[in-house]
């Protein structure tokens, strides 16, 4: 489906911390079309500053009482001018929302298990993915790391879906102290190599690289959602490239807006 550009009304804006919020947008046509892992390009203010849109993974698909898609939400972390505007958005305000864009995750079926590995705001694509997997009866585990306990969000949402949680914080204030890749790798090693597990990962680049390496060592397929600075989201500007190996092993710059943001981890050239 070609992407739609909606002037989407902000229906709610829920602060989660001083840096994180969940922004809900009325965008029924995008909500009906989006698949887990896809993104939208948002421009929260008119004018030229900031000039460009910014890509955001779709966090939740919001539904009305009868279950019909009515909107989407965005998990936002303040890191610059656009994310500051998204943090400060008021209900009733309208935000230009282009989407859905990009290639989604490929969800698996039982008896395969899904292991989701999220770092910080990298949780963003996993709410809708966990819902889809839950609907298929796929046993799902979320390995979720953050700096501190107060930055682990939506835990009850995932618990409610029946997702098993393995939490880490850098300061040890919740879950295991350390990086999220550590329990992931340990659990992976504890399972027989024949157990069918699909790994899904989203987060900082080093976390993705470590997750990809651990998955490769255990022979598990791994889909990662990458984040790049994007100019257009449609393949026009060539700014969001990721170095990827082709079938002959030669590396090429691939546009993550068209070929991704979900990419096969074993093809990416990790630094």
């Amino acid at each position: 489906m070609p992407p739609l550009d909606l002037s989407a009304e902000v229906t709610s804006n829920t602060p989660l911390s001083a840096d994180y919020n969940v922004l809900a947008l009325a965008a029924p046509a995008i909500a009906a079309a989006v698949s887990p892992g896809q993104f939208v390009m948002l421009k929260p203010a008119g004018g030229y500053d900031p000039l460009l849109r910014r890509p955001f993974s779709v966090f939740e698909v919001l539904r009305d009482a009868r279950g019909a898609p009515k909107g989407i939400s965005i998990l936002n972390k303040r890191i610059g001018p656009t994310t500051d505007l998204v943090y400060a958005a008021r209900p009733g305000q309208r935000i230009a929302c282009l989407g859905p864009l990009g290639r989604p995750f490929t969800p698996i079926e039982p008896p395969g298990e899904a292991w989701l590995v999220a770092g910080g705001v990298g949780l963003a694509p996993f709410a809708s993915l966990a819902e889809t997997l839950g609907g298929r009866g796929v046993r799902t585990t979320l390995f979720y790391g953050a700096r501190r306990a107060a930055e682990l969000f939506y835990l009850d949402f995932f618990r409610h879906l029946g997702v098993e949680l393995a939490l880490t914080t850098e300061d040890g204030s919740a879950g295991e102290r350390g990086r999220v890749v550590e329990p992931f790798e340990r659990e992976l090693a504890a399972r027989p190599p024949t157990a069918p597990i699909m790994v899904y990962a989203c987060g900082p680049e080093r976390m993705l690289a470590a997750t990809a390496r651990a998955a490769a060592r255990s022979g598990r397929p791994c889909q990662v959602s990458v984040e790049r600075i994007m100019g257009c989201g449609l393949g026009g500007c060539y700014s969001c490239v990721v170095p990827m190996k082709d079938e002959h092993g030669a590396a090429h710059h691939v546009r993550s807006c068209l070929s991704g943001p979900v990419l096969p981890a074993d093809r990416i050239v990790w630094d």
Binding site: P2, P3, D5, K43, Y48, D49, P50, L51, L52, R53, P81, A96, L98, R228, I229, G231, C232, L234, G235, G236, C237, Y238, S239, C240, V241, V242, P243, A251, H252, H253, L258
Partner: protein, 312 residues
Amino acid sequence: MDLSVRIGSLTLHNPLVAASGCFGYGVEYADVIDLASLGAVAVKGLFLAEREGHPAPRIVETPAGMLNAIGLQGIGVRRFVAEKLPELRARRATVIVNICGSTLDEYVELARILSDADGVGALELNISCPNIKEGGIQFGCSLNGTFDVVSAVRKVTTLPVMPKLTPNVTSVASFARAAEEAGADAVSLVNTFLAMAIDVETRRPKLSNIVGGLSGPAIRPIAVRMVYECHQAVKIPIVGMGGIADARDALEFMIAGAAAVQVGTASFVDPFIWSKLLDGIRDYMQRHRIERVADLVGTVDTTEQDKEWISS
């Protein structure tokens, strides 16, 4: 109402052209907008060979603009002809192919290949990319180089030839004149302004290439001035660009002297901008009772105004 404009022997049914480097090979947008509704599509700069371009980060936002240093990543002319041109033809797009070489021979070879291909409307000679060392810009920064590359290509093609000029010179108009004397059918201007942005916390450049090209509304007044100067200097059509973000901006370029305009950065922000631009131009023509958009070109009125009231 007649929106058509002429670029040499090529007629565009309206003056709006998707700018090279900002619209992929056009096919990326085939399901987003009707490619045939554009005056033309200028595809991403092509070398003979495939190129990977620079590592990310390749763009950074700046006040009312952006820097880019993509490094002319591209699939090479042969793959373009085989894989992209057929779809552009099927979508009835008018195609301007932007070509880039590191030697005169490369430009000539590219021109030959594209002259034999079916579905190419014109050649835009990229002699102005600020982001790579070995291609184009050495021609675009020398009057003789500009003259030589245009004449060499002119000899091997009957397609309209349009060098894309850099603003990173003292007098763009003299380069437009050199192009005209060498037989160019048109000139397009401006490419991006060489620029730089630094992260003060890390003291690292924000682009992997250190420097990049500035585009967007920030450059528009300078680009309008350069189009105006070139229009004074040459008789061939000028395709103007630089920060056009709405219909008034497009009209400003045409009044300054552009026969057609290219839009790049603004279509990143709004991929559906084209119909809005056309509506705005039509509305303006209606209000000003202009029948042919071509009649607007270069009509800026700089006659002496009665300014006595200022001093009195």
